[in-house]
C-alpha cells in the first residue's frame, strides 16, 4: 500500500473517528448490557433502541460549566482529562485492523502502544493530585500502584508473544498467526513454539487489561462506594466526559491488543474470507466480555489486587516466558 501523506492523514482521521465513536457508543452498549443483565430496559427513549443517547449526553456534558475546585492546580486539572483521551487515540493510529486498514504501521507498534498506555495512568495521577480532594488523592495513589503492578505481567506476556513472532510489528505478529486457528497464540499447537501454556498467558493478559483499564472488578481507582468517584470526583462537564470516553477508548485498545496478540487479528478461524470483519467480531466479543464481567463481579480489595499481580501473575508470566524461550530453542 502506497502511504502518501494524504493517505496517512485520512487514515489518522478515520482512526480518531473510530476511537471517539467507539468510546461514545460503548457507553450506550454498556448501559444496555448492564440493563439486560439486571432485567431492566436501560436507555431506550432517545432514538431507536436509545441510540441517540450518547450524542445527547455529549451535548448535555458540553453545555455544563467546567468548574475548577478552589486551590486546585489548574493546569494539571485541565490537562488530566485530555491526557486520558489522547494516548488512547494515538494508539489507534498504529493498530492494524486488517492487512490494508492501518493508519501508520510501525515496526515497533507493540512498544508504542505500551508507551502510550503507561501515559494513560499518568492522567489518573494528575487528576487525583490536582483535584485537592482527599478521595481523589487516595484514588490516584491506588491507581499508581495498580498501574505498576499490572503493567509488568502484561509486558512480560507480550514479550512472550513477541518472542514467538520474532517481531514487534503488529502486522507481522498477526501474519504469523494467520495460517489456521491452531496457529493463534491463544493455543499455538502448530505455531513455531508449540507452547501449550499460552492459554494461561492469554488469561494473564486479559486480566491485566481489565486492571489496566480500571474496569470492575479492578476499578479501585473509582471505587464509588469508598472513594465517592475516585480521581474524577471533582470533574464535571466534558472533563468528566473525557475521562469516561478515555476509559472506553482504553477498553477498545486493550481488546484490540488481545485480538492481535492472541486471537489472530483479522484471520478467520476456518480460513474463510479473512478480513476486517473478523477483527471486529473478535473485538466486540471481548468488549462484551468486559461488560459482562463488570456487572457480575463485586470489586476486589486493593491488597487482593496487588497480591494477585505480584504473587501470582508475575511469577506465572515469568515462568511462561522462560518456558517459551526454551521451546523456541528446542524446535
Amino acid at each position: 500500500m502506497n502511504l502518501t501523506l494524504l493517505n496517512v492523514i485520512v487514515a489518522v482521521v478515520i482512526a480518531i473517528a473510530f476511537a471517539a465513536l467507539n468510546a461514545a457508543y460503548l457507553v450506550w452498549a454498556e448501559r444496555r448490557g448492564a440493563a439486560r443483565i439486571q432485567r431492566r430496559p436501560g436507555p431506550n427513549i432517545n432514538g431507536p433502541f436509545g441510540l441517540l443517547q450518547p450524542p445527547l449526553d455529549g451535548i448535555k456534558l458540553m453545555a455544563k460549566q467546567l468548574t475548577t475546585p478552589g486551590g486546585a492546580d489548574k493546569v494539571l486539572f485541565i490537562a488530566a482529562p485530555v491526557l486520558a483521551m489522547f494516548p488512547a487515540i494515538m494508539s489507534f493510529v498504529t493498530i492494524p485492523f486488517s492487512d490494508t486498514i492501518v493508519a501508520k504501521n510501525m515496526n515497533v507498534g507493540v512498544l508504542m502502544i505500551f508507551a502510550f498506555a503507561s501515559m494513560g495512568s499518568m492522567s489518573l495521577v494528575f487528576a487525583g493530585w490536582s483535584s485537592r480532594n482527599k478521595y481523589s488523592m487516595m484514588s490516584s495513589v491506588r491507581a499508581v500502584s495498580q498501574a505498576v503492578a499490572y503493567e509488568i505481567p502484561m509486558l512480560i506476556t507480550t514479550i512472550t508473544v513477541v518472542m514467538i513472532a520474532g517481531s514487534t510489528d503488529l502486522m507481522e505478529i498477526v501474519n504469523q498467526q494467520s495460517p489456521s486457528i491452531l496457529h493463534w497464540n491463544i493455543f499455538p499447537l502448530l505455531g513455531n513454539s508449540h507452547n501449550l501454556l499460552m492459554p494461561l498467558s492469554f488469561l494473564i493478559f486479559f486480566t491485566c487489561t481489565l486492571a489496566e483499564t480500571n474496569r470492575a472488578p479492578f476499578d479501585l481507582g473509582e471505587a464509588e462506594s469508598e472513594l465517592v468517584a475516585g480521581f474524577h470526583t471533582e470533574y464535571g462537564s466534558m472533563g468528566f466526559g473525557l475521562f469516561f470516553m478515555g476509559e472506553y477508548a482504553n477498553i477498545v485498545i486493550g481488546s484490540c491488543m488481545t485480538t492481535i496478540l492472541f486471537l489472530g487479528g483479522w484471520s478467520c478461524p476456518f480460513g474463510l474470507f479473512p478480513g476486517v470483519w473478523w477483527f471486529i467480531i473478535k473485538l466486540y466479543i471481548l468488549i462484551a466480555t468486559f461488560i459482562w464481567i463488570r456487572w457480575t463481579f463485586p470489586r476486589t480489595t486493593i491488597y487482593g489486587l496487588l497480591n494477585l499481580s505480584w504473587k501470582i501473575l508475575i511469577p506465572l508470566s515469568l515462568f511462561n516466558l522462560l518456558f517459551t524461550a526454551g521451546l523456541i530453542k528446542v524446535f
Binding site: 482527599k134 487516595m138 472488578p217 462506594s225 456487572w295 470489586r299 497480591n307
Partner: protein, 378 residues
C-alpha cells in the same frame, strides 16, 4: 493469594502523617446522612468517630405531645425499610398498658405482616450490601423480589413503605384471599431466589475474600454496645427477642434462630440470608394456622388512657431488638415514650471495631451492620 486478614493488627502510626477524612454526611457508602470522621494513615483507619443527628426529627418528643393514636404513624417513619416491626412494638406496649385484648386472627396477621416486611428489609439490605462491595446487579434482583412483598402489603395496608396498619387492639384491615394466595405463591418463589442468590453472590470468590475473616466482632464488644440482630448473632450470641422474650403469637411458630460463630462480615451476611428462610417458615405456618374471627376487639376503650405506670415491650425487628418504654401518668398523652432503636447500638460499635482496618474493609463492615440512618436519629 492469601490476603492479609490481619485487620486490627497494630500498624505503625506516625501522628504527623495522618489526615482526617470526612465520610459523609453525603457519601455513597453511608446510605443516608451519617457522617464518619475518620483519622486515616494512608488507607488505614487510625481512629473513627460517627457523627449522627443530621435527620433528627424528635420522634420521642412527638410521642410526648401526641395522643396514642396520633403517634401511631410516627413509628413507621423511623425505619423506612422494616416499618411494621416498629409499629408492632408500639401497639404491643400500649395494649399491655391499657389491657386491650387482641383477637387471635389479628395477632397472626401481625406476625405474617411483620415477617414479610422483615424479608423485604433483608432483601434490600442484601442488594445494598453487595452494592457496597461494588457489585451492582444483585440489587436489581433483590428489589424485584421485594416488589412482590410490597405489592402484597400495599393491597392490604394501603401503603408501600411507611405503613400505618396496626391499631391498638388489632389491625386496620383484614387480609383477603388474594393476599393469602399471593403469599402462598411468594414463598416457593422466594426460596428459589434465595438459592439463586447463594449461587450468584455467596459463592463468588471475590465476595468471599472480601468478607471472610474481615471485621471480626467479639462477643464482648457486642455486649458492651448492646448490639442485637445479625450483628450479635453473627458473633455467636444466640439472642432473638422472638425466642428469648416471646411476644404475640411467636411461641406457636416453629422456627430457628440462625447463629454463626465466625464473628466476621460473612457470618453477619449468612445470618441475614438464613433469617429470610426462617421468616418464610413463619409466614408459611402463619398462613396455615390462620384462625377465623374479627381483626379488632369488640370491646375497646374509645380514648386510650393507660393507667399510670411504667411499661416496656421489646420486639425483634429486621434490624434487631427494638424496645418501647412507655411511662404513663394516666393521661391520654404519654408522659414519656422512650424508643430504644437497635441500629443506634449496632452503629456505635463501628467506632471501636474499625480501628486498624483499611477503608474498603471498614465500609464493607459498615454495610454488614445494616444501618438505616433515620432509625438512628429518630
Amino acid at each position: 493469594m492469601n490476603a492479609p486478614v490481619e485487620t486490627n493488627a497494630p500498624i505503625e502510626i506516625q501522628p504527623d502523617e495522618t489526615f482526617i477524612l470526612n465520610v459523609g454526611p453525603q457519601h455513597p457508602a453511608t446510605h443516608g446522612v451519617l457522617r464518619v470522621k475518620m483519622e486515616m494513615n494512608g488507607e488505614y483507619i487510625v481512629d473513627a468517630e460517627t457523627v449522627i443527628g443530621y435527620i433528627h426529627r424528635m420522634h420521642e418528643k412527638m410521642g410526648e405531645i401526641k395522643t396514642y393514636p396520633q403517634f401511631l404513624m410516627n413509628l413507621s417513619r423511623m425505619d423506612y425499610l422494616g416499618a411494621l416491626g416498629y409499629s408492632h412494638g408500639h401497639v404491643l406496649v400500649v395494649e399491655k398498658a391499657s389491657a386491650i385484648e387482641v383477637p387471635e386472627r389479628a395477632e397472626y396477621i401481625r406476625a405474617i405482616m411483620v415477617e414479610l416486611n422483615r424479608i423485604a428489609s433483608h432483601l434490600f439490605w442484601f442488594g445494598a450490601f453487595v452494592m457496597d462491595l461494588g457489585g451492582f446487579s444483585p440489587l436489581m434482583y433483590a428489589l424485584q423480589d421485594r416488589e412482590h412483598i410490597l405489592d402484597m402489603l400495599e393491597a392490604v395496608t394501603g401503603s408501600r413503605l411507611t405503613y400505618c396498619y396496626f391499631r391498638f387492639g388489632g389491625v386496620y384491615n383484614d387480609i383477603d384471599d388474594d393476599f393469602i394466595s399471593a403469599a402462598r405463591k411468594f414463598i416457593p418463589r422466594m426460596r428459589k431466589s434465595l438459592k439463586k442468590y447463594h449461587k450468584l453472590v455467596t459463592g463468588n470468590i471475590i465476595f468471599r475474600k472480601r468478607l471472610e475473616g474481615v471485621a471480626p466482632l467479639s462477643k464482648e464488644i457486642c455486649r458492651k454496645y448492646g448490639a442485637s440482630s445479625a450483628v450479635a448473632r453473627g458473633s455467636g450470641i444466640n439472642f432473638d427477642v422472638r425466642k428469648n422474650e416471646p411476644y404475640s403469637v411467636y411461641p406457636e411458630f416453629d422456627f430457628d434462630i440462625p447463629v454463626y460463630h465466625e464473628c466476621d462480615s460473612m457470618a453477619r451476611y449468612m445470618v441475614r440470608m438464613d433469617e429470610i428462610e426462617q421468616s418464610l417458615r413463619i409466614v408459611e405456618q402463619g398462613l396455615a394456622k390462620l384462625p377465623d374471627g374479627p381483626v379488632m376487639p369488640k370491646k375497646k376503650p374509645k380514648i386510650i388512657k393507660p393507667p399510670a405506670g411504667d411499661y416496656y415491650q421489646a420486639v425483634e425487628t429486621a434490624r434487631g431488638s427494638f424496645g418501647v418504654r412507655l411511662v404513663s401518668d394516666g393521661d391520654k398523652i404519654p408522659y414519656r415514650l422512650k424508643l430504644r432503636s437497635p441500629t443506634y447500638s449496632n452503629m456505635h460499635l463501628f467506632d471501636e471495631a474499625c480501628k486498624g482496618m483499611m477503608i474498603m474493609d471498614a465500609l464493607a463492615f459498615m454495610g454488614s451492620l445494616d444501618l438505616v440512618i433515620p432509625e438512628i436519629d429518630r
